[in-house]
Symmetry: C2
């Protein structure tokens, strides 16, 4: 399969590119380096310095024998995207090319407008490029479980059958996101669902929970192939932050009461899920939705697990409850469905102590790079 990865320089885009190319697919990657620029501008650089995308592709080819085509440019630039489509002629596109951080989207007006326009115009351009060049091309868009918020009823997989006053209707599951970033991810889904109703395009939306981990099978051969790993308050996700705090000897920063519960998955499962989605495209005009996570944990659960792993490694790990910088429920009902990807054959990795210890040990190798002051929350909403 010829697979185009938009946002191929990112935390998930780069490991996905290696993974799919090693599994026999022909892969091209696109990135505009937005995330690298933002990390420098905000003084929130990743833990592990990264060669640029062209250099990483060269390294990967040397290690694996698989060639990745690299295009540096902006998916919001429609003529650029059309040119990539015409040159590469993808059978499928994996769309990671969005501004991915909730705190970034809540920093102020400029970041809000950027997040909104980047995430929705990139998606619109992708839809039109597919319609223009090859309507059969399967769009696999990375979404987030965060679009659902924390409703007081079960979260179903994409759609909700509603019975009301004796009549029934099947709606796209209503979204109540908790940050502007998450709202734009509901809105990009609304765009894709809308154009599936209008045109015979094929879309899979993967509503993914927070991802943890650094290592994938492909990066084991050369640590310069590790993904962009942020541990700061803006771009770092909660468990990755905790791993770094444990190593730095800084208390784990739990926001508020810590009862916030989400569905998590290992980065290796992300890659497997994306390939499963690619191998199972929906029919033309169908908007297929999977909830992509493996286990649900509260923030307090995660903190306890990291404390336990720390103990096993002779690290003293403390927990500090901070005033919550976000507006969110700190205790709530949470029961999301996730059967679609399991039924396609996903073999999940669970968050056991051995896994946590391996992650902590890898972070320990980069201990000198940690800037603990980056971890404390600076963005409030």
């Amino acid at each position: 399969m010829r697979i185009l990865i938009l946002g191929g320089d990112g935390y998930l885009g780069w490991p996905t590119a290696m993974y799919l190319s090693r599994r026999g697919h022909e892969v091209a990657v696109v990135d505009n380096y937005f995330r690298r620029r933002a990390c420098i501008e905000l003084n929130r650089e990743p833990l592990i310095a990264l060669p640029n995308l062209n250099r990483r592709a060269t390294l990967w080819e040397r290690v694996s024998g698989h060639r990745l085509t690299v295009h540096i440019g902006d998916v919001c630039d429609y003529p650029f995207l059309l040119q990539v489509f015409r040159e590469f002629e993808p059978d499928a596109v994996v769309h990671y090319a969005e501004q991915p951080a909730a705190p970034y989207s809540m920093m102020g007006h400029r970041q809000a407008v950027f997040t909104l326009t980047n995430n929705l115009v990139s998606t619109t351009n992708l839809i039109f490029a597919v319609k223009e060049c090859n309507p059969a091309c399967h769009i696999v868009k990375l979404g987030t479980m965060g679009v659902y918020g924390t409703p007081n009823i079960d979260i179903e997989e994409g759609y909700l059958e509603v019975e009301h006053k004796g009549r029934r209707h099947r709606f796209l599951y209503p979204k109540t996101p908790g940050s502007l970033y998450h709202l734009t991810k509901a809105q990009d889904g609304d765009l894709l669902y809308f154009y599936c109703r209008m045109w015979p395009i094929r879309v899979t939306d993967l509503n993914q929970g927070p991802v943890y981990g650094l290592t994938t099978g492909e990066s084991a051969e050369d640590e310069r192939l590790l993904p962009m790993f942020n541990y700061d308050d803006v771009f770092g996700t909660v468990l990755n932050r905790f791993l770094v705090q444990a190593v730095a000897g800084v208390p784990l920063t739990v926001y508020g009461q810590g009862g916030q519960t989400r569905g998590y998955l290992n980065i290796q499962d992300t890659l497997a899920c994306v390939e499963l989605a690619l191998l199972h495209p929906p029919a033309p005009g169908e908007y297929q939705v999977f909830n992509q996570f493996v286990e649900t944990f509260s923030v307090n659960d995660l903190a306890r697990k990291v404390q336990d792993a720390g103990r096993a490694l002779d690290l003293r790990v403390e927990v500090q409850h901070l005033p919550n910088p976000r507006r969110e429920a700190e205790e709530h009902y949470y029961n999301p469905a996730q059967t679609g990807l399991l039924s396609l054959g996903l073999k999940p990795h669970y968050l056991d102590e051995a896994t946590l210890c391996r992650m902590v040990q890898l972070v320990q190798k980069y201990r000198d790079q940690i800037q603990p002051e980056l971890i404390f929350p600076q963005v409030r909403w």
Copy 2:
């Protein structure tokens, strides 16, 4: 009350400005003339030539003694909007500054991206200007009933209480719009609802049905004060198109079977509803939604009514069913609620034969201006 009207040059913005100023409010209007430019570019000019907004304000002051402040500029230009806020210090803002035509939004990539960014960035800028300058300022945004689509259950007023597997949750009513324009109107509502959850801003969303009519109490004194009245396939709404077709002796163009049912209202009721909303702001942090229409009709109902009015005026009116240029259900369940504005005191105008005849007679005065070839649908989706 100091009321800022965004999109004050448009079909509804201009009559709203006159109406509110005559009722003792201090009114400023903003417009970037997008609609005028688009009408010229697409060769779809309004039936009645319009003095520019400054000249109309001067005319209105001469007729009524009420001064309107005019700002020509783009709400998507945030520094411009902030400056207007700081100069005028509004207590409330009526937001009409969006690209309002479904067919325009479906013409192609350029129009899609324009509609998306214009409608969402204008709304985002407005939210941030309110938060920055005066969080108590009430935002009244004109929405559309079209955001709901035609679900198989009753359309409630803004929210839907869902019972699912023995638990209950109140969601914003899920939207299934039928054009990109309508989708952006669901998305601007999602933005407003989101920021109401985050910040103590006050928002009323008026989900309005298609509006018909030309005359309001204020324009009766000078026909140069009539609103921007489009009858073409892109900017004209269905009943206004039918009025012009009846006068031009062209068959009424019914798309498909004609069972498409919507909630309609007279332009005079729009003005009353907007003022009722302004006089009843929600609490800080509340997103208040009203469904704004008076009666539901199918397209076939409207065609029959125009035929009857034509007969009363000795006009021979025929009906022609065209292949539907849109993707929409032509027969469907439709039972929308609309009690909120009635309970605030709306006294509706109904679409009776006398009203229809007066509208036809006014259009007859401009008969020589009609270009019948503009009425046939050119945009398909």
